[in-house]
Amino acid sequence: MEVSVKLNKKEFDANIEKKDKGFKVSFEGKEFFADFEKLSGKDGNLIVNGKSYHVIFTDNSVYVNGVHFDVETIDPLKKELLKSTALEKDEGAVITSMPGNVKRVLVKEGDEVEVSQPVVVLEAMKMENELEAPKSGVVKKVNVKENFPVEANTVLIEIE
């Protein structure tokens, strides 16, 4: 079976076939023999050409010897949708990628801001983090209030 994998934004292709108790993987002209065994719960062990790897599957990630992979969710459409509404629609969106508490809102609607100007101070885990304007422009919308918590990936401020 042909499989393509995205690795560091570079796509590449491998061929995988069942072989004895495991798999034969052909990739860039080389052959690898792999044996996977589920250990317990989220854990498995993978032996590839004799090398042993501890593999952990969580809901949306894979860890190989403790090193993390991102894995796209089952419904790529839904994810695209999420992205388009939040992250990609508006280049002027000030988005928090972590949950936290809005400590201070430094601008109000109608304000003119410059690129990199701090607009919101977010507190999480006892540290203050300043979020800056991604571009120069006018504050169109302020979606948050001081001392209220926000989830990750929320659009806090919109600038146009």
């Binding site: 990739f27 790897y53 990630s61 090193v67 992979f69 089952i74 949950p99």
Partner: protein, 495 residues
């Protein structure tokens, strides 16, 4: 000795104190916020009582509630851990007024040492060198800026009531001054309930080296060697070690004796830490004194063989130190890595969430002081430090290798951590050779975050994951996070 002790703290340090209390045959009492009902310290303690509230201000900082619990459950003493009320003189006095032993120094020592400005003055008087600075009541932004211009950038703005990197900012130029001055004041207010700050000249190539001391109520004070804490980011310590690769026996003795002098100057008892900045000519300057147990105390425990929490409790109960200065012999080398719930690839942004899988290292010379468990929710309300990993080996070279081995075994899934980042620091030539100061991480951040994909096994694994995932509804397409592959290839058993 006490029969029951309340721990006015949470997370790993509460667990740490519970462990020693149990060894001493003393009942431990945990307190908890609503957020922390399911936390490890509650589960491990003998008794546990709710404080209510979510934020620290609503829970762990409410002195009356804590005193109330202690009285109701019959705790004779309170261990404050670090942070929260550990250096709060009002709380120490409130304990005294309620006939509860505060496991810490006398209130006077807290107030004189806890206030950084007062502490500087005391040290100056005692003849301990201090860094040029400006400290005055109601220090204004303008005055501070004037001072900065006079001594020259960079300068440090520091919370007067501060400690632990909170309310502290390094300012490199005039442009950033106003912003950082305000940030420091604001953080100081939210962390310590006190927005006073002072300003100091920033030393070039400074090392942060601190001396652990231990004093009893009978006037005996000893020092327990130093800790090298120069691996810092945003004034938060990241890796600590003892002994410091930078200082020798003679300098250790000099700094130790200075620290003891400082402690005696304020009638100190309890465990405590005198922090110094050391410049490249090995001049040392008093930085501040922490009148409490320090996060990084395990490295000292490894090399001295002494349980500092046990001695804090014994001293608080009035026992005389059964250790003399000559009993303290440093043996071997210890290193601590603080495990933070943060994402180094996204500017070390905090990464709260559920720990879906947790594997902690063990075996020879490894100690994990954790505040979490598999399935635990790391809350955004509190500190992002989830654990402290400490190792011991007979020398520094082997200790570094042991730490790398332990970090390889350490797996935290579900949230991001700085485990991989630690591996890069520990393999960086400057760290390996012991040539580093507090600017180390900032100056090497690019190489410490370097990205690359090399090993072809990794591609095979990715392909297999993709293949397996066909049968797994939850997993569809694997893309690896950009930054980790290099480390993977470098450190993770595949070379």
């Amino acid at each position: 000795m006490f029969k029951k002790v309340l721990i006015a703290n949470r997370g790993e340090i509460a667990v740490r104190v519970i462990r020693t209390l149990r060894e001493m045959g003393i009942k431990s009492v945990a307190v908890f916020s609503d957020i922390d009902r399911k936390s490890l310290h509650v589960n491990l303690a003998d008794e546990a009582y709710p404080l209510g509230g979510k934020t620290s201000a609503e829970s762990y900082l409410v002195m009356e509630k804590i005193i109330d619990v202690a009285k109701k459950c019959g705790a004779e003493a309170i261990h404050p851990g670090y942070g929260f009320l550990s250096e709060n003189v009002k709380f120490a006095k409130m304990c005294e007024d309620n006939d509860i032993v505060f496991i810490g120094p006398p209130p006077e020592a807290i107030s004189s040492m806890g206030d950084k400005v007062t502490a500087r003055r005391i040290m100056e008087k005692a003849g301990v060198p201090i860094i040029p600075g400006l400290e005055k009541e109601g220090l204004s932004e303008e005055e501070a800026l004037d001072f900065a211009k006079k001594v020259g950038f960079p300068v440090m703005i520091k919370a007067s009531a501060g400690g632990g990197g909170k309310g502290m900012r390094k300012v490199n130029n005039e442009k950033d001054f106003a912003k950082f001055f305000r940030q420091a004041k604001s953080e100081a207010l939210s962390s310590f309930g006190d927005d006073r700050v002072y300003i100091e000249k920033f030393l070039e190539e400074p090392r942060h080296i601190e001396i652990q001391i231990l004093g009893d109520k009978h006037g005996n004070v000893i020092y327990l060697g130093e800790r090298e804490c120069s691996v810092q980011r945003r004034h938060q310590k990241v890796i600590e070690e003892s002994p410091s690769p930078f200082i020798d026996e003679e300098m250790r003795r000099k700094m130790g004796e200075t620290a003891v002098k400082a402690a005696k100057a304020v009638g100190y008892f309890n465990a405590g830490t005198v922090e110094f900045l050391v410049d490249k000519y090995k001049n040392f300057y008093f930085l501040e004194m922490n009148t409490r147990l320090q996060v990084e105390h395990p490295v000292t425990e490894w090399v001295t063989g002494i349980d500092l929490v046990e001695y804090m409790i014994k001293v608080a109960a009035g026992e005389k130190l059964d250790l003399k200065q000559e009993d303290i012999v440093l043996k071997g080398h210890a290193i601590e890595c603080r495990i933070y719930a943060e994402d180094p690839d996204k500017n070390f942004m905090p990464s709260p969430g559920k720990i879906e899988r947790l594997i902690t290292p063990s075996g020879p010379g490894v100690r994990d002081d954790s505040g979490v468990f598999e399935g635990a929710e790391v809350s955004l309300y509190y500190d992002p430090m989830i654990s402290k990993l400490t190792v011991f080996h007979r020398n520094r070279e082997m200790a570094i290798k042991r730490m790398l081995r332990a970090l390889d075994e350490y797996i935290v899934a579900g949230i991001k951590t700085n485990i991989d980042f630690h591996k890069r620091v520990l393999t960086h030539p400057a760290f390996v050779e012991g040539r580093y100061d507090t600017t180390f991480i900032d100056n090497n951040i690019d190489s410490l975050l370097e990205k690359d994909v090399k090993n072809e096994d990794v591609a095979v694994i990715a392909a297999l994951i993709e293949y397996y995932s066909k049968g797994n509804k939850k997993v569809k397409r694997a893309t690896c996070t950009s930054s980790r592959w290099k480390d993977y290839a470098k450190n993770c058993w595949t070379i």
